[in-house]
Structures are given as structure tokens and as C-alpha cells.
Amino acid sequence: MARNELILTDVTKRFGGLTAVDALSLKVESGQIYGIIGPNGAGKTTVFNCITGIYKSEEGSVNWRGEEIRGMTPYQIVDRGIVRTFQTIRLFSQMSVAENIMSGRHIKSRQSWWHGIIHTPGSRRDELENWKKVEEQLDFFRLGEYAASPTGSLPYGIQRRVEMARAMAVDPTLLILDEPAAGLNDKETLVLLETIFKIRDKGVTVLLIEHDMDMVMEVTDYLTVINFGKQIAEGTPEQIQKDSAVIEAYLGSEDDDDE
């Protein structure tokens, strides 16, 4: 099973009486830019949390490259090449941009715990190699000038970029983005689109949630639309645009695409 496929089968997640994700199935193929859309509270973020190990779905299966990852911890899932960003940015806000990106190298670094007490030539080399990888991300995301700035004090758009850079520092196979365009202005959104295409061209599969319909239609290869935790449609952007169930779900919910 070498294919980098993510297959969700009948994934169900409940919070008390509320079924936030209801028997959801989807399949993300290697090299795709895959979109999940749906109105507020539809359960999109919860799906991501079930994939990345923050929640364990009560039922169903989450299969990644032929391996069942449901019930694994978040760091075990990162170790298998799946990394995510958050809808509400979660950076290490007192730490610099470079240090934030360096956190993405944690799992790739070969240092043991005891190198925290005594360094060795090997651990110094490893340290330097990983900082060089940070430099690559700083360049790729054009964050070089902010390297030493604490992230908490940076504008929102830059924080979003730092969060993506941190995720990309892991060298992921599957990158999961929760509303990467939220809070960005039009110019920043354009840059983001370009970046997402570039990331895909590096061979990374991208799974994203997006509220901004224009952006979704432009960037994704394939889409799943959910409402009340259930899939109501799937297909290419062209197919989705014509889908009557989707049009209905979005009518009247156009008012609140903030957050």
C-alpha cells in the first residue's frame, strides 16, 4: 500500500446528544487538493480533529496509506506524515517565527532527550541541519525578515503564513489546512492560492476547509460538501456548483462566514 491515500469510512463523532460528524465517508487521493466545505457548524473542523487524533471518532475508520490511524495520538499521526493548521491560529506566541518553524522539525530531529543535557558533535550537526531546514521554510514563505520576531506581535496574515511554514517544516505527505484564508485580505488570499499550488507541486497532498467559495472553486480538484455532519454532495468544483442540495444548504447561510 504505497499510495498516499486517506480514506474515511462512516466516521461518526458525537458531543453529548449532538452528532457533529455523521457517518462521513471520503477519499483523498495522492497529489490532490481536496476541499471540505459546508455552512458554519457543519462539522468540518471536527472531521479534521478526528483525522489528526485530537478527537477519536466513536465509529468508523480513518485509514491512511493502508494503516488504521483512528485512535492514534496527534504526534503519532504527525509521525506518519499528516500535519495540520488551526482555524484559530495556534502559534507559540511568545517565541520567534524561526523557533515556531523549528517546532516542525522536532519529529525529524535525531536528537535524544539526553542531548538536552549534553551535546555531542552529532547533536550539534543535527541542530544546524534543522535550522537550515527552517531557513528553507523562511525563504519559501517569505518570512525571512521576521525570523527573530515573536509571533504574537505579528499581523494576522503573517501569523497564518508562519503556521503553514511550521507545518511544512515537518515535510508532510498530507497537509491539512483549516480555513487558511480566514481573515486574509484579497491580496493575501492570492498569495495563499499560489502557495498552495506550489506546495502541491512539491508532491504534498492538501486537504483544506474553506468558507470562501470563490477560492474553493479555484483551488480544489475535488470537494466534499457537508451539512449537519453529513455529506450532501461530492465532486469536482464544476459538479458541486450545479448541485441543488449544495445551493440549498448555502442559501440563507451566506451571512456568517467570519471567524
Binding site: 504527525v78 495556534r90 538536552g116 520576531s149 515573536p150
Partner: protein, 318 residues
């Protein structure tokens, strides 16, 4: 405040290296206490400051190291230096064992549990468990340091022993900062969920912090036992742990901050001798003032310690 920012570690080390020659015997005593308690406070900082775990039982690990040295020397006749590995490893292992089941607890719960551990420990000492702790009186009459058969009786040699331990602690702290493990502690303190989601097994690193913090405190315990040629339970009481906790909170999670905290707590009261009994009063006021004026401590942790080649100007420096 500006002066503090320009704090230089080499300068401090230089001053401390010559200091005992300028002091009389009673002030040397104070200086040794400053060195020993600085090590304990820095070890507390690894757990509380760097990792953000509300641990209020550092007296436990400090005492465990001191008692390990005292028991091995007094009961079993080990030379002091030979007790050091045990005085580090026993607290470190106990720290790891105790941390295992509790590190997932939220701040306030963790606080209560660690206080509990400390109280149990002191009770065990008081009740002379196993007949080796000497009960409420403790153990006295330890040998002095000896190196290659030479007895180092003088207070000056105890001072340099303590100083060497502090330097070792500085070195460990510096290594920690420039390592994957040290950064992991900062990440998990800043945002545990984000840390897990970027691939950090936070549980392992929390336990690591406890093990390392406990080991260093244990080493400080050896020096403490040597300084007084004795150990007794009240020196490792819960109130001591409260002080170490407060020093890190008030001073801030940085070497100058912690040293300043120890200075205010343990040296200033000696300068104003007649106020010595007022030390908690002074420190209490300092705590209140610091928390209102500088909630992240007098000298907060600084970040942005990144390789120079990553800093490309741009006036955004941290």
C-alpha cells in the same frame, strides 16, 4: 531594569569566583547558601518556568539528594564525592516515577499533588522510616569533602564546590536551551495542543523536565548537606518549596531573574540583619509588586535565540 537587561553571565561568574576572598566567614556562609539555593531555583525553573508545570514540591528532590549523601556517608561510610551520582539519580528517578501519573493534570491539580508529595516526604523523614533518616533531628556529623585523599575542610572549599555545581547547572541550562528537548518544553508550555499537533509527545518531555529538575535539585542537596555537615527535615519543608516556586514566578524564567529572586529572598534579609525575621514580609511584598507590575516576572524569559544566519535585518528583531 536596564541594568538587569545588560546582565552578563561571564561578569557574574567572574565576580562570584573572587567573591569569597572579600568576605568574612559569616558572609561566605551566606554566599554558599546563595549558590546552593540558586541551583535549586534554577532546577525549579526547568519544571515551572520552562515547561509551565505548577510544581510546588522542589524541596522534596532537594531533600532527597541531601539525605542520599548524608545517609550514604554517615551510615555506610561512602566518601562525599562518591555519593553524588546517587544524590542525582535517586531524585531523578523518583521524579520520573512521581511525574508519570500526574503530568497530565491541570495546573491547580498538579500544584496540590506536588505539595502533597512534599508533605509526605517530610513526614517520612520525621518518622525515621527504615531507621536511616534520623527522625526529627536528622543526621549530623558528615565527613568533609575530600579529593584524592586531601581533606577539604575549609569553608572556602565548600564555597568552590557549590560554585562548581552552579556552573555545571548553567552549562546544563545552556545545553537545554539549544536542544530539541529544551525547545519542546517551551512549546508545550506555550500551547500544548499545538505542540502535540506538530509532533511532540508532550508527556515524555514533561516527565523529562521533572527528571532533570529533580536531578539538579538533588545535586544541590549534596552541597547543602556538606555545608552544614548535617541534614534535618525542616530544611526541605513545603514552605521551602513555596519559596522556590515564588522565586521563579517573581524573578521570571531566566537565569538573571532566578538569581535575582534568590538574592532578594536569601541575601537581602542578611544585609538587613535586624529585619531577618521579616524576610517573608519583604519577599511577600516583592511578590505582590512584581506580579502587578511585571506579571511575567522581573526578568522574563527571552526567546529568539536563533542562529545568526537566520537573522536578515529588517528591524523586526525580538
Amino acid at each position: 531594569m536596564e541594568k538587569l537587561k545588560r546582565f552578563s553571565l561571564p561578569g557574574f561568574i567572574l565576580v562570584m569566583a573572587v567573591l569569597p576572598h572579600l568576605l568574612d566567614s559569616s558572609w561566605q556562609e551566606v554566599a554558599i547558601t546563595f549558590l546552593v539555593f540558586s541551583v535549586v531555583a534554577l532546577s525549579q525553573d526547568i519544571i515551572l518556568g520552562k515547561s509551565g508545570m505548577f510544581h510546588m514540591g522542589q524541596g522534596l528532590f532537594f531533600g532527597m539528594g541531601a539525605y542520599a549523601t548524608a545517609i550514604l556517608n554517615n551510615e555506610f561510610g561512602w566518601p562525599i564525592l562518591a555519593t553524588i551520582p546517587v544524590a542525582i539519580l535517586v531524585p531523578a528517578l523518583i521524579g520520573i516515577l512521581l511525574a508519570g501519573p500526574i503530568v497530565h493534570l491541570r495546573g491547580d491539580y498538579l500544584l496540590v499533588v506536588t505539595i502533597g508529595f512534599n508533605i509526605v516526604f517530610v513526614q517520612v523523614l520525621q518518622n525515621n522510616l527504615g531507621g536511616v533518616t534520623g527522625g526529627p533531628n536528622g543526621i549530623f556529623g558528615l565527613d568533609s569533602l575530600s579529593l584524592l585523599g586531601v581533606e577539604l575542610m575549609s569553608q572556602l572549599s565548600v564555597y568552590y564546590f557549590a560554585f562548581a555545581v552552579l556552573l555545571l547547572t548553567f552549562w546544563v541550562m545552556r545545553n537545554l536551551e539549544g536542544s530539541k528537548a529544551g525547545r519542546a518544553l517551551h512549546y508545550l508550555r506555550e500551547d500544548q495542543l499545538a505542540a502535540e499537533s506538530i509532533g511532540i509527545n508532550t508527556r515524555v518531555y514533561k516527565i523529562f523536565a521533572f527528571g532533570l529538575g529533580a536531578g539538579l535539585a538533588g545535586l544541590a542537596g549534596t552541597v547543602f548537606a556538606v555545608q552544614y555537615s548535617a541534614v534535618s527535615p525542616e530544611a526541605f519543608d513545603f514552605i521551602q518549596s513555596v519559596l522556590f516556586f515564588s522565586i521563579v514566578i517573581v524573578g521570571g524564567s531566566s537565569i538573571p531573574g532566578v538569581l535575582l529572586g534568590v538574592f532578594v529572598m536569601f541575601v537581602v534579609p542578611e544585609i538587613f540583619r535586624e529585619f531577618a525575621t521579616w524576610r517573608y514580609f519583604i519577599f511577600g511584598l516583592a511578590m505582590i509588586a512584581a506580579m502587578i507590575l511585571r506579571p511575567r516576572g522581573i526578568v522574563p524569559a527571552t526567546f529568539g535565540k536563533i542562529p545568526k544566519f537566520l537573522i536578515k535585518g529588517g528591524g523586526h528583531g525580538a
